[in-house]
Symmetry: C2
C-alpha cells in the first residue's frame, strides 16, 4: 500500500497507482501533465528542475501540444517517468514538496486532446452489441454475420473530428430516408446516439509490411482512454450500405483527456470470454488480455440531475486489444504513435448494461424515463452525455475520469 | 500560346500550362519543386534568390518535407507562385536562365509523398463501377443500392499506408473464406487488384460544424493526383460486411508525386452526366464540374513489356468533387489541408474502360492475355501496375505523370 503526501480523496480515479498522462494548459503554453487526486502536476515544471535527468535528456517532450513526442521516447522511458513520479509522491523527503508551482487544482487547468491522432480505427468487438444491432438493422434470426466470430470486424473512422471531453457538439445534419417516404430528406438527425467505448493509443511505430503478433501487441499499446463514438442512427441506416458508416459518425467523437497506461491497468487483468469456434493461429493468445473496467453512461438534461442509464464493463469484450492489433497489422498495415483504436460499443448481457440508446430503447420503441420525468428515445438538444470508467480491487482504484459532451442545436 | 525557353518534349505532361507542385530531394534535404518538361525546378533554390519576395515573405514553406505549409499560404499566394513561374519560364530575360543549379533532370530527383495526409476518404462515385461490383458481390438484378443515386457513397480509408509512386508493395496476407471451405484460412491474397482512381487534396481548413457548399467547394480543393487503391478482393469479400472495406485496402495505396492544381485543369472542364432522380438541394450545383482527364492502366510483367489493359476517363464520374466535398462536410465534419479524397474506381461503359481486374476479368472468370502470352486474372508477384493520366485539347496538354508500384512476394 503506497501512501502519498498529497491528499487524495478516497474514491479518486487518480490514486497513486494511476499516474496517467495528458496535455494541459493554464495560459497559452501547453504542457505534459499527470493527475494525482484533485491536483494536476505540470511535468514540464518538474522536468525543468532536472528531476528526470537520469531518465531522459530530451526535456522538450514535456512542453509539446501532444503526448506523441513523449510516447516516442519508448515504454522503457515513459514507464520510468511514471514510476519516478509515483515514488516521489510517496517520499516524505520529495523535492516536489518545495515546488508548489508545479501543482494546480484540476479545475484551473484546461485539458486538451492528449495525442495527435494520425489514423483512427473503430472495432465492433462486443458480441452483445453486434448481436443487438444485427437484430435491429438486419435479420433477427441471423444477427451475427458469418465473419464475426472469426475476426475482429473493424473500420476506419474520421480522426479530424475527435474532440476532448467538454467540447460541445452540434446536432449534425444529414441525409436520411424516413420509412414512409419515397425520397430521402436533409435535416438535423432525429436519432442522435452515444456509443460507450474505450480506445487504446498506439505507443510504437511499425513499418509498412510489418505485422504485430498478439504476443508482441502490448509493447505497442501505450494506454487507454474513454471514447464516445457519437452516432446519428437515421443517417447511418440510410448511408451505410455497402461501404460502412461515414457521416453518421464523422461529425464528432469524444475522448477523455487522460491516457491511463497499460502498466497502471495491469492489476486488473481478467480472462476474456471463451471464443468459439477456435480462432486462426494469428489471433490466438495466451494469458489474461481483458481488463475489469467498470463503465457508466450518464445523461444529464439541461438544468437536470445526472441519470445513470447504463452500467457496463470492458471485460465483456469478445475480442481483446492484442487480437485487434494483430488483426489490424496482419496485412502489413503500418501503425503510428498516437493512432487510436476504439473497441466498438461495449454492451453486456443485461438490459441495464447496454452501451447505446439504440439498444437501451430498442431503436426508440421503448423510451427511458429520466429522474425529472422526461423521457428519451434518443439524445435531445441540451443533454450532456458523460462516460465514466474505473478499475477497483481491494484497496486499489485506477480510473479514467470522464468524457462528456453537451449537445447543442443544429447549426442553422 | 506560351513558349518556354526550356525545351519541353511535345507530348510532355509537364507543359508550361501545368506547373504542378511536389516534394523532391537529391540528398537529405527535401524541397518544394515543380516540373517543366523533363526538368525538375527546385523552388527553394528559386525562393532563396528573392524571386518570390513580392508574393510571400514566408520562404520556410519551400524547404519542408510536405506541401502542407505551402498550401496553407492559400490559393491567392500559391496561384501567384504558379503564375510567376509560368511567366519567368516564358520570359527570354528570366533571371532563372542564370540559375542552372535550380534545374535538375527528373531522373536525378527522388520524389516523395507530396502531402501529409491527415485523413483519407475514398468515394465510390462511378456508376459503372458501382453497378459492376454490385452485380458480382451482391445481386445482379439490384446492383445499385437504393442510396447510390441520392448521395456520393464514401468511406474512411487508412492514411498511414498511402505511398508515393515507385514504392514496391508486398502482396498482403489476410483472412479469406474459400467458397467451398467451412472455415476461413489465413495467407497471401490470391486476388490482388488495382483500382484506377484520382484523388483531390484539401487546400483550406474548416472548423468542426462548418459545411462547404458545392459553390464554395473549389476554394477548398488545392489540386489532384493519380491514385491506385490497391485491393485484396478475397479479403474484401469476407471482411466487408457490415462495416465496409478494412484490411483489403489498408496494406497500401499508391499516389502520384505531382499535385496538379485545379487552376491548371480549368481549360478541361466538361459537364457531368445527368443525375436522375434530382439530387437534394445541398448536392445541386451549377457550371461544369467534371474534367476531361484521359486515364490508362498498364500492367508490366517482370522483364516484360507494357500492356495497356484499360483506357478510361475521369469525366465519367457520376458524382463530382464539389458534390463529394459538400456531402462530406454537410454534417459538420472538419477537413484539413492535406486531407485526400479519392474518387473510387473510375470505370466507363465499355469493356476496355473498366478500372479494376475484378471488372476486366469478370471476377477472374475471363483472364486477360498479355503481350508475352501470359494471362492474368489478378495481379501476380513481379508485376508492375502503372496508372497514367493527362488532359489534351488543341495545343494544350496538362498531365499527371504516373503512379506505379511493383508487387513483391508476401513477406514470410
Amino acid at each position: 500500500m503506497m501512501n502519498s503526501w498529497i491528499s487524495i480523496p478516497e474514491q479518486s480515479d487518480f490514486s497513486i497507482y494511476n499516474i496517467p498522462f495528458g496535455i494541459g494548459s493554464t495560459g497559452t503554453t501547453p504542457f505534459v501533465c499527470t493527475r494525482i487526486g484533485d491536483q494536476v502536476l505540470n511535468l514540464n515544471t518538474v522536468a525543468e528542475t532536472g528531476f528526470f535527468k537520469d531518465i531522459t535528456t530530451d526535456l522538450s517532450v514535456f512542453s509539446q501540444r501532444t503526448l506523441n513526442p513523449f510516447i516516442a521516447l519508448g515504454k522503457s522511458v515513459t514507464n520510468q517517468v511514471r514510476i519516478a513520479i509515483q515514488k516521489t509522491l510517496t517520499d516524505e523527503n520529495s523535492p516536489l514538496k518545495n515546488q508548489g508551482d508545479a501543482f494546480m487544482p484540476y479545475e484551473k487547468v484546461e485539458m486538451h486532446l492528449p495525442v495527435e491522432i494520425g489514423d483512427y480505427t473503430d472495432f465492433y468487438s462486443s458480441i452483445e452489441h453486434a448481436t443487438n444491432v444485427g437484430k435491429m438493422f438486419r435479420d433477427p434470426d441471423n444477427a451475427l454475420l458469418p465473419n464475426w466470430r472469426h475476426l475482429p470486424v473493424g473500420y476506419h473512422g474520421r480522426a479530424s473530428s475527435i474532440v476532448v471531453s467538454g467540447t460541445p457538439v452540434h446536432r449534425p445534419k444529414g441525409q436520411t430516408k424516413p420509412v414512409d417516404a419515397e425520397n430521402p430528406v436533409f435535416g438535423p438527425t432525429k436519432r442522435l446516439d452515444f456509443e460507450l467505448e474505450m480506445g487504446f493509443v498506439i505507443g510504437k511505430n511499425t513499418q509498412i509490411g510489418d505485422s504485430v503478433s498478439t504476443e508482441q501487441a502490448e509493447e505497442y499499446i501505450f494506454g487507454m482512454a474513454l471514447f464516445n463514438d457519437w452516432s446519428a442512427r437515421d443517417v447511418q441506416k440510410w448511408e451505410y450500405v455497402p461501404l460502412g458508416p461515414f457521416l453518421a459518425k464523422s461529425f464528432a467523437s469524444g475522448m477523455s483527456p487522460w491516457i491511463v497506461t497499460l502498466e497502471a491497468l495491469d492489476p486488473f487483468r481478467v480472462p476474456g470470454p471463451a471464443q468459439e469456434p477456435e480462432v486462426l493461429p494469428y489471433l490466438q493468445y495466451t494469458g489474461e488480455k481483458n481488463y475489469d473496467i467498470h463503465l457508466e453512461v450518464i445523461i444529464t438534461p439541461e438544468n437536470g440531475d445526472e441519470n445513470i442509464v447504463s452500467k457496463s464493463n470492458f471485460k465483456y469484450m469478445y475480442w481483446n486489444m492484442c487480437q485487434q492489433l494483430a488483426h489490424h497489422t496482419c496485412n502489413g498495415c503500418n501503425v503510428h504513435i498516437g493512432d487510436l483504436m476504439a473497441s466498438g460499443t461495449i454492451s453486456g448481457k443485461d438490459q441495464e448494461s447496454l452501451g447505446s440508446m439504440l439498444e437501451l430503447t430498442l431503436g426508440g420503441k421503448k423510451p427511458i424515463t429520466l429522474s425529472n420525468g422526461e423521457s428519451r428515445s434518443f439524445i435531445q438538444d441540451g443533454d450532456t452525455v458523460t462516460l465514466r470508467g474505473w478499475c477497483a480491487k481491494e484497496n486499489l482504484r485506477v480510473g479514467f475520469g470522464e468524457v462528456y459532451n453537451k449537445i447543442l442545436p443544429a447549426k442553422s
